[in-house]
Symmetry: C2
């Protein structure tokens, strides 16, 4: 059976501070059900991959403090499918460790790595792309990322410039550009050469480990110390001890942008990075005045283009607001202009400094 | 002892809908402690009068549904000092009934009648005025209202025009004017002849009952049916049966504006009718940007001239609001421009229609 070699690593350790106060340190956004579907973003991600990948081949890497949340939300996972980071590092150490772990279980694994907070509206097309991707990476020694046809000059995403075409929708990658200025993003859109980087990667375990050896040798050196522990009951102790020494670096900067064997499969999956309130606003159903109201009851008067979310049993009555975010969760209410949402990190920091962690 | 003839009637049956959602039908504003003093407005009113009037001579008239709240907040009152209206009428029936009740206990009572939702900052001057008032009304057959020197052209208050001077700060009343237009209010202020009507009245029980007989005979006729029950254990049954038939009319319109024996004692008591959010805003301590924050924790950025109140343990973070009211209580959050607060009644009605009484 083809898919016994197919593995999935879901990254679910972020704290989602850009979605504060709905996303809280003790309950970050990947564990929330923003749209009232009955399943959290993490659960939706698991459900999606589980259609083509056996549950026992799906791993979640998260922070120690979310162990209970992951286990509760995904009872399909056994304890050793939840990889717990003792401290917060970036995506490169997370993916490298998961790769070592999976290689110990299946030395020929093909792996799709995905964040836990993305929205995919056209699941069928997406899963076909992932399966085609597995076939492409299985024996080629190449790495693959999924690229999304952009529909607007979004400045919050990374872009991939395509190079030579290999096959239908399959291209060699020329360059990566992180969040561009608006003018640049507009040029990207016009050129037709640039695609959004979904942050979803597919590769064979040996390919990615070879890339780590070549491009992040200092990380591999530390991981190699534990070469005998992966997949054993000594792994957790080893990771708890050594993980804090791993470098804090992203997979994009550490590997993807430097490797010369990266390809991109282009698709239109109804994909969105649910990274900001504005993206949530864009993705949500709106009333006749372009207001988005999630979960709560509401009466709006002279209101336009707001995004409003309070707990389900609450009523919010608003008069005379335009372009604001109104979000309440537990003991925090946030009201700010949508266009100022970049300041939420500052609000969180100020809150931490002035009032402590009880509100974070 | 002089003050065994001194009685007080506190009117505490309003639902305070202009202060929704903080003031709720099940817990109206008079039962709330807006400023965190540790005593509700009703308790403050009781405490104030109790300095010059024995507790057993103080009566609270309220609606049946608030019987428990009054008893809880004022354990000093015995059951027969809480007069319970079975339905909502205006102030004339309330005061007429209380007058009959008190006359049965003391046929020579002097009574001060006061709302339960006013703020009096200079208590000593106020109590002196009340005591002087008792002396003035005891044998003169005159009625007295307390008038406040206005400091701004407030359009939310009633005004009293003074006529001939009788004594220091004591004048005959010429006219009453309900909430004037701003231009009129400005003229009133300039003229020096107009004073705010505090709605606090002082009279001998026989004087007010004579006025009711003359000016509201249809009400007196109904109240006289029960002349033998006042002060007895049959009073409640009688009131429950007949009160719904009493006319819905205010003491101002029914009596004060028509009587020819009304005088006004002028004073400066730091008085305010806590009738609207704007009045609460005006009365409250402000930060350097003229924001008023009551009870909750707050972080404000680019905010000016707002009034903000959430429960004590909550944090509100607001960016970019000017001149708004942000008020949350229990299951309702209200955000509206301060200048639009007159629409709160509409919000309440719409809420009742669309979502039912659970949010009122």
């Amino acid at each position: 059976m083809a898919n016994t070699n197919s593995y999935c690593v879901i990254m679910g350790g972020g704290i989602g501070s850009r979605f504060w106060p709905i996303s809280r340190k003790t309950l970050p956004k990947q564990f929330l059900d923003f749209f009232g579907t009955g399943r959290s973003l993490l659960q939706q991600t698991f459900d999606r991959f589980n259609k083509i990948i056996p549950a026992e081949n799906i791993f979640v890497v998260t922070n120690d403090m979310y162990a209970g949340l992951v286990a509760d939300q995904l009872p399909e996972l056994s304890e050793n499918q939840i990889l717990l980071e003792p401290t917060r590092r970036n995506t490169a150490p997370c993916i490298a460790w998961a790769s070592y772990h999976i290689k110990a279980l299946n030395p020929n694994a093909n792996i799709v790595v995905a964040p836990s907070d993305h929205l995919i509206l056209r699941e069928e097309e997406f899963l076909i792309a992932v399966e085609n991707g597995f076939n492409f990476v299985a024996d080629s020694g190449n790495m693959l990322t999924l690229g999304i046809k952009p529909n607007r000059p979004e400045t919050g995403y990374g872009y991939i410039q395509i190079d030579g075409q290999i096959d239908d929708n399959l291209y060699k990658v020329k360059t990566f550009t992180e969040k561009p200025e608006l003018e640049i993003a507009k040029l990207f859109l016009e050129s037709g050469e640039f695609y959004w980087n979904s942050g979803i990667f597919i590769w064979n375990v040996n390919t990615i480990l070879a890339a780590f050896e070549k491009l992040l040798p200092e990380l591999v050196e530390k991981l190699q110390v534990g070469h005998h522990v992966y997949g054993t009951d000594k792994e957790k102790e080893f990771i708890n001890h050594y993980f804090p020494e791993f470098p804090n670096i992203s997979i994009d900067i550490g590997i993807i942008e430097k490797a010369d064997n990266v390809y991109v499969a282009l698709g239109d999956f109804g994909w969105a990075d649910l990274g900001t309130w504005s993206s949530l606003y864009d993705l949500s159903e709106k009333d006749e005045n372009q207001n988005v109201v999630l979960r709560c009851e509401s009466l709006l008067y002279d209101c336009k283009e707001n995004v409003i979310t309070l707990p389900q049993d609450k009523l919010v009555v608003i008069q005379g607001l335009e372009g604001y975010l109104v979000a309440e969760s537990d003991n925090v209410l946030l009201i700010c202009k949508k266009e100022e949402e970049h300041a939420i990190r500052k609000f969180v920091n100020d809150t931490q400094l002035r009032l402590g962690g009880n509100y974070i």
